[in-house]
């Protein structure tokens, strides 16, 4: 479904991502892991159009999408969440989710001003759907809240609801469990599994190994911007290079 080939991104003299290639099959949960600064988020930003690749190609459903703008990628069915939350704090929680449904509605300004026939009905339906999504991701208690008044854990779920509202074909979750406690992380884990069961392709960047190992079908390991390994969770767990990179100098001394 998504094919990345020889992708590189340089910031000044720093190679954030270097010559990375991998393929994500449809309907699987694909995780990207690696130590801090390994280039995971940069990779996400490249794929979702926030950064332009220095070289390499990104193919989505057989078409080249490298360098396309984020909103064009959204049209093609890509959606994502953010490591540093990107919540619209000037909107209510449910409006944040409805922002995700932008492409499913008539969003012409003229139509909006004149209350085009059918627009209100479609918007109301969208609101019901957004409420249902908030229920589904587990922040249904905040349906009437202002986004600015919500706790961190709930905002993480709100972002997932927003990402789902665009009815994506592929969903990117950037550290969905970062900053969450054990119970909350477990909740996210169940949610990701649930999403995967519904047939969605999910790509996860995550530090929490327990979560990664339990939900992933395949795992990509990055180190210093390069691909270190790729495989099933059990292959990765036994890969000596991955162990060395993760355990660092300590492992070598032992």
């Amino acid at each position: 479904m998504l094919t990345v080939a020889n992708l590189s991104k340089r910031f000044g003299g720093v190679h954030a991502v270097q010559d990375v290639s991998f393929t994500i099959p449809r309907g699987c949960v694909y995780s990207v892991i690696g130590p801090n600064g390994a280039g995971k988020t940069t990779l996400f930003n490249l794929i979702s159009g926030l950064y332009t690749p220095t070289s390499g190609s990104i193919g989505f459903e057989g078409q080249e999408i490298g360098g396309a703008a984020p909103d064009q990628l959204a049209r093609r069915g890509m959606s994502r969440t953010f490591q540093n939350l990107q919540i619209c704090r000037n909107l209510s929680a449910i409006d944040n989710v409805m922002v995700g449904a932008h492409l499913t509605l008539n969003s012409s300004m003229v139509a909006g001003m004149l209350r085009w026939p059918g627009l209100s009905r479609a918007d109301r339906a969208c609101r019901e759907r957004a409420a249902a999504l908030m229920e589904r991701v587990g922040c249904g208690a905040f349906i009437r809240a202002d986004a600015a008044a919500m706790p961190y854990g709930a905002l993480k779920r709100l972002e997932i609801a927003r990402a789902l509202a665009s009815e994506p074909k592929i969903l990117f979750l950037d550290e969905p469990a970062a900053g969450l406690n054990h119970t909350e992380t477990h909740g996210i884990q169940t949610l990701v599994a649930d999403l995967a069961r519904s047939g969605l392709t999910v790509v996860v960047v995550e530090h929490d190994m327990k979560l990664v190992m339990s939900v992933s079908d395949r795992i990509l390991v990055l180190n210093y911007g390069r691909r270190l390994a790729e495989g099933t969770p059990s292959e990765i767990r036994e890969n000596p290079e991955v162990i060395a990179a993760y355990l660092g100098a300590d492992a070598e001394e032992d």
Binding site: L50, A74, N90, V99, M109, R115, L119, R144
Partner: protein, 341 residues
């Protein structure tokens, strides 16, 4: 649908069983109240001067709402918005005076021209953020007012030029009482259209890009195009308003496009409340009445005005209307909204 019990979210789920509050449910009341005020105000206004003040408040309010769409809702500051008002006013004045056009086509042409200029400018400056955008728009407004002041052959220079009254199909608007209904109607129409827009998917997109451009673009919103569109919309409304008010007041000078006028509009938006339509109306009422109330206290007027601005912004930093609304709500006066959050 699967539910996951989650102890970190202590709230009971009963709050979702009621109707989900849409943004439109409080609108009708507000609009009815506004219409009532506009309709009944003439009974209280003793003479043409008060009508004039009311008209000027309506002009400020419409202009404030236009700027609020850009600043309050979309988050793009403009310190040069009076420039567009001036372009509209002078466009109409020049076309009617020097070329003998009828007022309505002149108004439309001036608005169209302003839209084109705003579009061209927006394409380049809306990439800027924060204070840099403020600087660029400030510069734009000042350039417009300098051009209006220098091209004396067309505009009469710094002393300004006279403008004919507004007539359509042989009928001429005359006197404050007639114009009152024009601007009153315009204000109500503007409130309706602006609220429609804000409550629509398009309006949500604008507010989303204010909250987070990244989130908005990932959700499929073409951030650049949206910013340009709302800038052009806001500028065009100001231009049309400028045309009308030029015909109303009968005389214009470059001061109407100046920096102080732009600042006045920003004050209306911020004092009343960013992202609040009624806030802009409130701001316009304050800005329209204060100079008249303070007119007798020359020297002190500037001090008092400054003190009012500073004190309001310190104690009601989000602007008068939103800040008070939050306080009333959290005090449980309206009895809704508070419980859910």
């Amino acid at each position: 649908m699967t539910h996951h019990p989650d102890q970190s979210l202590p709230r009971s789920r009963q709050s979702i069983s009621g109707p989900i509050l849409g943004p439109g449910s409080r609108r009708v009341v507000g609009l009815a109240a506004l219409a009532a005020v506009v309709a009944l105000l003439p009974l209280l206004l003793p003479n043409a001067f008060y009508f004039d003040v009311a008209i000027r408040i309506a002009i400020l309010a419409v202009n404030g709402i236009a700027l609020n769409l850009l600043m309050g809702y979309t988050g793009q500051i403009s310190l040069g918005h009076a420039g567009f008002f001036g372009l509209g006013a002078y466009g109409s004045a020049v076309l009617t005076t020097h070329f003998g056009w009828a007022p309505l086509p002149a108004l439309l042409a001036a608005a169209g021209l302003t839209a084109v200029i705003a579009w061209g400018v927006a394409r380049v400056i809306l990439r800027l953020r924060g204070h840099y955008l403020a600087m660029a728009t400030l510069g734009l407004g000042i350039i417009i007012s300098i051009v209006l002041g220098n091209e004396a052959a067309w505009t009469g220079g710094p002393d300004g030029m006279p403008v004919d009254g507004f007539s359509l199909f042989g009928l001429t608007l005359s006197g404050e009482r007639q114009w009152y209904w024009v601007f009153g109607g315009l204000l109500i129409a503007t409130v309706i259209l602006a609220q429609n827009l804000i409550d629509s998917p398009a309006g949500r997109a604008l507010q989303a890009l204010h909250g987070s451009e990244t989130a908005a673009s990932v959700a499929g919103i073409d951030v650049g195009r949206r910013k340009i569109a709302v800038f052009v919309l806001s500028a065009t409304v100001s231009a049309m308003l400028g045309s009308l008010s030029a015909h109303y007041s009968g005389y214009i000078n470059p001061g109407i496009a100046g920096f102080l006028q732009s600042v006045e509009l920003v004050i209306i938006v911020v004092l009343g409340g960013m992202a609040s339509i009624y806030g802009s109306i409130f701001g316009a009422v304050v800005m329209g009445l204060l100079p008249q109330i303070l007119a007798g206290y020359e020297g002190w007027d500037s001090v008092l005005f400054g003190v009012i601005l500073v004190v309001t912004m310190i104690f009601l930093p989000r602007g008068v209307v939103p800040s008070l609304a939050t306080r009333l709500r959290s005090a449980g006066v309206t009895g809704k909204g508070g419980a859910a959050c």
